[in-house]
């Protein structure tokens, strides 16, 4: 890859001037002068880059991740890792439908490496998955039922030689209900679960399968495997410069021929700093950036960049302390929700958010008709008065940055000032992202001095969207119910959900759960991110799905 001129850096930039530059003739002249100086001085390097023109072009993505995601299966770096590396190199048995037709509504699951699945008729703790025929790993081996069984022990059985602690760490959360996997025939496997779990297909959609062939070839040396990963995904691994860039190539033999990548090469560059990403896009170094800062949008537009947004299952919220303190009283929780002026927050973010009125964005199928807490500081104050908590002192644990936290500090400060105006006395306790994650995991028992934590959550599937936040068995540190919320009626509803295998009936139960979570005001609902991304006008064919994951395969880049 050494001399493959991946970033069409020079090409891209030529002739494209920002609005500002066009406005100022002098500046343009000066810029041209400088440019021709460099062009003269170093013509060789530039013309070399100029010859790179290829049919589908090279897509260079500036990611928000602090580093390249690991390539040994389930990636790190949050869902961004899944978006760009995980679902590109690998497939899961169940995939997310990110196609154009789905763009108008929230995404749902579709067949992946499994073509069909159903719960065993005589045993509701056993799921049967029919596997896709004729799928090949990037290394040429064929995909079989044995591979699925092997992958399970790779992810879960710490006695097996193929066990990998890092994969366990990433995948265990999704395999928590699985008791074992067995092969029925060459194209069928059975998943036994510890409890009745109607949502298992959703959980398995996050479990990525790697090639046992390659793993054996490198003798289970995961460091080496990371440099030569092999999956079944639409892209295959080409090369990586640690910490700097990863290059993927189209897998022309992908089992879903409709999803063979249209571009010739996909380059991923980690750029954790938002202003760095903006500068990189404006200077033509990359042609796609994730999450530009809202304040840079106007500048990007003036340079002709496309800004793409769409609702997606993301919830910027505060999980509350139900063990002690004022939020144990429903009226205080409701007061906090009444206190927020979400329109103001949207203005602050340059329109780049959806007002958060519930755990879910309204396009979710089980959104229903939840009670909406419109901005009403008077009512908030009145409720606080009733509870005799005025001013109501609360401490919120927040992070200074972090995956999915949007503009964490300004947003938290705005929440504070709005809540203070409605009768609260908010103390923000900022910490770095990892520290906040530790607080989140350890749960309210160890951190009873916090009344709420601000960790944004993905809400892509029913369990992650709703259940884990309110279900009693999910009390931290066991699960994601940080504040130890417990409500017998909701618990009953949830076990009904797990036992309901009829999709429509289950949808009804889920809707009920969402509505009652709003009635109880189990969180302070603030915002849903719109997942903004900016791309050069030369990037074509992308349709943003309502998902954390995106399909990059239809994208082509004009030379």
């Amino acid at each position: 890859m050494a001399h493959q001129p991946i970033a069409p850096y020079r090409r891209e930039r030529r002739g494209r001037l920002s609005g500002k530059e066009i406005a100022s003739g002098v500046k343009v002249a000066k810029a041209n002068q400088l440019r021709s100086f460099f062009a003269l001085a170093l013509g060789a390097g530039i013309s070399l880059a100029g010859t790179a023109a290829q049919a589908g072009g090279t897509l260079v993505v500036g990611m928000t991740a602090g580093d390249l995601p690991i390539t040994t299966g389930n990636p790190d770096q949050g869902f961004e890792g899944y978006r760009f590396v995980g679902y590109n190199l690998y497939d899961s048995l169940v995939l997310w439908d990110l196609s154009k037709t789905a763009a108008g509504k929230a995404t749902d699951i579709k067949p992946g490496l499994a073509t069909e699945w159903h719960v065993d008729e005589g045993n509701d703790k056993r799921w049967i998955f029919k596997l896709r025929d004729g799928v090949k790993w990037h290394d040429g081996c064929g995909f079989t039922a044995d591979d699925v069984v092997w992958n399970y022990s790779h992810s879960a059985n710490d006695k097996a030689p193929e066990f990998d602690a890092a994969q366990y760490a990433q995948a265990h959360f999704y395999l928590g209900n699985v008791a074992g996997v067995s092969k029925i025939d060459e194209h069928t496997v059975a998943f036994d679960t510890t409890v009745t779990d109607s949502l298992l297909p959703y959980e398995l959609s996050y479990w990525l399968l790697i090639s046992p062939c390659r793993a054996k070839e490198v003798k289970y040396n995961w460091t080496e495997y990371a440099q030569r990963p092999s999956g079944t995904g639409p892209y295959r691994f080409d090369s990586a410069v640690p910490h700097q860039r990863m290059e993927l190539l189209p897998n022309k033999n992908y089992w879903d021929q409709a999803r063979v990548p249209k571009q010739d090469r996909l380059v991923l560059v980690p750029m954790p700093e938002a202003s760095t990403r903006t500068a990189a896009l404006l200077s033509g170094q990359v042609n796609w950036i994730e999450a530009p800062s809202p304040d840079a949008i106007d500048r990007l537009k003036s340079a002709g960049m496309q800004i793409v947004t769409n609702a997606y299952p993301h919830n910027w919220t505060y999980q509350l302390n139900f063990a002690n303190g004022p939020f144990t009283d429903r009226r205080v929780r409701q007061a906090a929700n009444y206190a927020l002026n979400r329109t103001d927050m949207k203005d602050m973010l340059n329109g780049l958010m959806l007002e958060g009125n519930s755990t879910l964005p309204p396009s979710t199928p089980y959104y229903g008709h939840p009670k909406i807490y419109e901005y009403d500081p008077g009512k908030a104050k009145q409720l606080l008065q009733e509870v005799k908590c005025l001013p109501c002192k609360v401490t919120l644990a927040i992070s200074t940055s972090g995956s999915g936290q949007m503009q964490s500090l300004p947003m938290n400060e705005l929440v504070k000032s709005q809540m203070d105006a409605a009768g609260f006395d908010v103390k923000l306790e900022p910490m770095d992202w990892n520290a906040l994650l530790a607080v989140t995991r350890e749960g309210v028992d160890k951190h009873s001095d916090y009344n709420a934590i601000n960790v944004s959550r993905q809400t892509q599937d029913p369990f992650n969207a709703l259940i884990r936040h309110v279900w009693t068995p999910q009390w931290a540190p066991k699960g994601a119910n940080w504040g130890h919320h417990s409500n017998p009626e909701m618990d009953k509803l949830i076990s009904g959900i797990f036992n309901e295998f009829d999709t429509q009936k289950r949808l009804k139960l889920l809707t009920q759960l969402n509505e009652s979570m709003n009635d109880e005001a189990v969180m302070i609902f603030v915002a849903h991110d719109l997942n903004p991304r900016a791309m050069s006008p030369k990037v074509h064919g992308f349709v943003q799905a309502q998902s954390w994951f995106q399909d990059l395969t239809p994208v082509s880049v004009e030379p």
Partner: protein
């Protein structure tokens, strides 16, 4: 940030009991500035302290009076300090008062002479309040380091022998880290925050400060008049108080003054990395970092915190240079 550290006479592996010429020489930073150097005649007046006509401090003030550049910058530093102290009296707005409609406004917008920040808070007020934090971060670590490092150095230098070796060897270990690295590592390990930032910077400054004090003390101790004092029956405390302190304080003070600007820059760098002061406390480094996202909206407003750091740091540097010349300290 690379190497503000280089003003610290760091040299791993140098014994303190000889004068490490290149290491402790003020020329390390140059006698710099626009100030007078040894080439100028005034130096002759006090080349031999024993025979000076004027008192030492008198002559220092005399020389400072004839150095308008230092005086001017000293006045500016004084004004910055005063502004920080009197922040509640002079700041036109509450530095925490937000206004979403009034966010990111340019210089001179509706009574906000320096515009507003990303939450619509008044920039002038935040810069004034920010001076409090930044100056505190500049001065407190230096004070702590002077106190602890100075005491360790004097003790080591005066007692000598094994004690001195033990003290200086321990210091040498900390010398083995480039100062920025050490500050970032400590602040990073302890998890940021203002107190931790100060602690980190203090730890960074203690070893060089200790070395300065130790060198000066060792030199003094070897001089005849200490022996004479001893012979005349003076007690150790008396000797330290009258003879050692009198001669060691000068170098320590000058060195400390030169560290203030370094400390301000380092502290702002820590805040910039997210390892220093926590938001929403106004701090110049932190403001610089958060406003970085908005640089395309109000470029000049976003440049202000950097300018504030720069002005304060350059003034401190020049004043320190002036003081060094006036006091003619050769460390």
């Amino acid at each position: 940030m690379t190497d503000y550290s280089s003003v610290i006479p760091a040299k791993a592996g140098i014994r303190g009991d000889e004068v490490p010429a290149a290491a402790l020489d003020p020329r390390f930073r140059g006698n710099g500035g626009v100030i007078k150097t040894r080439s100028e005649p005034f130096l002759e007046e006090q080349a031999a302290p024993a025979t000076k006509v004027r008192g030492y401090w008198e002559s220092v003030f005399h020389r400072l009076r004839r150095d308008p550049v230092t005086l001017v910058f000293a006045v500016i530093v004084l004004l910055i300090v005063l502004a920080a102290i009197c922040a509640p009296l002079i700041a036109p707005f509450d530095p925490y008062k937000e206004s979403i409609v009034g966010r990111l406004k340019p210089l001179g917008w509706r009574g906000h002479p320096l515009g507003t920040d990303e939450l619509g808070r008044d920039m002038l007020s935040r810069l004034i309040y920010g001076g409090r934090v930044s100056l505190l971060m500049g001065i407190v670590p230096v004070l702590i380091a002077s106190l602890i490092g100075g005491m360790l150095g004097i003790a080591g230098g005066f007692i000598g022998g094994r004690t001195n070796t033990a003290v200086m060897r321990t210091m040498d270990v900390f010398y083995a880290f480039p100062s920025v690295l050490l500050a970032v590592a400590i602040a990073g390990a302890m998890g940021g925050g203002m107190a931790n930032g100060m602690l980190a910077l203090s730890l960074v400054f203690i070893p060089p400060m200790c070395r300065v004090a130790e060198t000066a003390t060792t030199q003094i101790r070897a001089l005849d008049f200490i022996e004479a004092a001893r012979a005349s029956g003076a007690r150790t405390t008396t000797i330290i108080r009258y003879h050692v302190l009198g001669n060691v304080l000068g170098p320590v003070f000058i060195y400390a003054s030169s560290l203030v600007s370094v400390s301000i820059l380092l502290a702002s760098g820590l805040s910039f990395l997210g390892l220093g002061v926590r938001p929403p406390v106004p701090d110049w480094g932190l403001m610089l970092s958060t406003l970085r996202q908005s640089i395309y909206v109000v470029p000049f407003v976003c440049a202000l915190p950097g300018l504030a750091i720069f002005i304060t740091s350059i003034c401190c540097n020049l004043v320190s240079d002036g003081l060094r010349a006036a006091m003619d300290v050769r460390m």
